[in-house]
């Protein structure tokens, strides 16, 4: 048997608690997004502390930094992962997300 990915969606319908359609799902998206934002700001905090310990002023360097093509595509892949995570309950498929990558330019 070849190894399969652990499914991220359970079988069966989600319960609807709010009267209007979609509110529960949107709330789920918001919470997932918040977890990503939380992880991100923790990482940024850690990064800044690490760099500070090396005597680097991060803010200036970030503004001047030029991304390579490889870096841009790595960031693009990360953006795609983020979208899939945030939209997981709405069933956004991998195909849907691929076209986003195709259309997207690099970070501006």
């Amino acid at each position: 048997m070849s190894t399969r990915r652990i499914p991220r969606k359970r079988r069966g319908q989600r319960h609807q608690f709010f009267d209007a359609d979609g509110v529960d799902e949107v709330l789920s998206c918001v919470l997932r997004l918040t977890s990503e934002v939380s992880a991100l700001s923790e990482r940024l905090y850690l990064t800044e502390r690490v760099l500070e310990a090396q005597g680097l002023n991060v803010a200036n360097e970030v503004e001047r930094y030029a991304l390579s093509e490889a870096e841009e595509s790595a960031l693009s892949a990360e953006r795609q992962r983020l979208i899939e995570t945030v939209l997981a309950q709405l069933g956004a498929s991998a195909q849907g997300a691929e076209s986003i990558e195709d259309d997207a330019g690099g970070p501006s």
């Binding site: 048997m1 070849s2 991220r8 359970r10 991100l40």
Partner: protein, 393 residues
């Protein structure tokens, strides 16, 4: 890189994994404390009194449920709790996926202390395969590779997030609490053979081998992936346990083989018919003079009205379809129907052994049972376990 646990079946956690896990654990604790508190207050301060004024007081858990359904605090609690539950499995699956092949190879190492006996021909009950219990995709049994442990790895990691430390450092507090309760309360009873039914990853099995080092400890479950993981985890911790794939409703054991038969958080995941079959089997495999114990949700008839509504949430919304029916049973009656004598029924509420330590625990075993908002429930403020069972004459 950080490891998820202090045993060889641990996975590596990136900073991103750790941050997301911490977030979901915090979110769950927020829901179970703050949002649950708001909900209770809304009931006690507003919805309850309003119904009383109308001369139609809410006197059953079902009536409370119906009255709260349209209310914002209920919708918000339920919706966020559902999302948080889904996120538990989501955030832990990434690390397991990354290392699954290594984990599966590691689990296939030859045993040094205990054993693993699988039975690929064993039919799995629909109660296990038919639903993704407590919203975990693929639950306990789904196989995703040869010699797969993924369900076990997801379970071990999910407890870290789900229980935010409330199950003890090695997720073993229930097993440690019950085994030490028996040791301290019945010092003349020294079991030499112990059986855990529905052991999952053996987290509550291992403490028995520590509490009674001379006893042979056996643990059964129907699901192979969790058993493979349980075995590898126990081997890596150096604790000898024989893990066997078996249905607790029809065990392969001889009559009168065990001094202790116990289960932890097992019965409430069984349909009532299977509960009855399991208890008959437990009675059969117990030696005379042996004891049966179930660590479980407290029975409906012992708990305050609002708690019964609150606990039933899982049966409606968390894919725990058998939980409500189980709690409605007269537990003593379940045991007498299985062959135990009514006079031999025992039940107890217990503080958590690994949290309060030997001395305070030893003192607590003489106090009366307490059924309140912390009994049998996961709460950031703590938990008091509930168990019941019977001696076999």
């Amino acid at each position: 890189m950080n490891r998820s646990h202090d045993h060889d079946m641990a996975v590596s956690l990136t900073q991103h994994d750790r941050s997301r896990r911490a977030f979901v654990a915090t979110l769950r604790s927020h829901v179970l404390q703050r949002m649950a508190g708001d909900l209770r207050q809304h009931f006690e301060g507003t919805v309850g009194p309003e119904h009383e004024k109308l001369g139609a007081p809410l006197e059953s858990p079902e009536a409370i449920h119906e009255a709260l359904k349209p209310e914002l605090p209920f919708k918000a609690y339920s919706s966020v709790r559902t999302s948080a539950q889904e996120m538990v499995f989501d955030v832990v699956s990434d690390a397991v996926d990354r290392e699954l092949e290594t984990l599966n190879e590691r689990a296939a190492q030859p045993a040094k202390k205990g054993s693993l006996t699988l039975n690929p021909a064993l039919p799995l009950p629909k109660s296990v395969t038919g639903i993704d219990v407590h919203l975990s995709p693929g639950a306990y049994h789904e196989e995703r590779a040869d010699n797969d442990v993924s369900a076990g790895a997801v379970y071990d990691n999910s407890i870290d997030v789900f229980a935010f430390g409330q199950f003890g450092k090695r997720h073993n507090d229930i097993g440690a609490t019950l085994s030490n309760y028996l040791r301290l309360k019945f010092p003349e009873f020294v079991p030499t053979s112990i059986l855990d039914c529905g052991c999952t990853i053996g987290h509550n099995t291992l403490p028995w081998a520590e509490t009674y080092p001379d006893a042979e400890v056996t643990a059964i479950d129907v699901a192979a992936p969790v058993l493979r993981y349980a075995h590898a985890r126990a081997e890596s911790m150096g604790v000898p346990v024989d893990f066997r794939q078996m249905n607790a409703t029809a065990m392969d054991f001889e009559d009168e083989q065990f001094d202790v038969v116990f289960s932890s958080m097992f019965m409430h995941e069984l349909p009532l018919k299977h509960i009855q079959q399991y208890l008959k089997e437990a009675f059969r495999v117990l030696k005379p003079g042996g004891v049966l114990w179930q660590m479980e949700l407290p029975p409906m008839n012992a708990m305050p009205l609002y708690e019964n509504f609150y606990m039933n949430w899982d049966t409606y919304y968390n894919n725990e379809p058998y939980y409500g029916t189980f709690r409605k049973q007269d537990y003593r009656r379940l045991l007498t129907d299985a062959g135990f004598a009514a006079d031999d029924f025992i039940e107890a509420t217990m503080p958590r052994y690994t949290f309060i330590g030997e001395a305070a625990f030893a003192e607590s075993i003489h106090s009366d049972n307490t059924f309140d908002t912390l009994t049998g429930r996961m709460d950031p403020k703590g938990t008091r376990w509930y168990g019941f069972g019977a001696w076999k004459r």
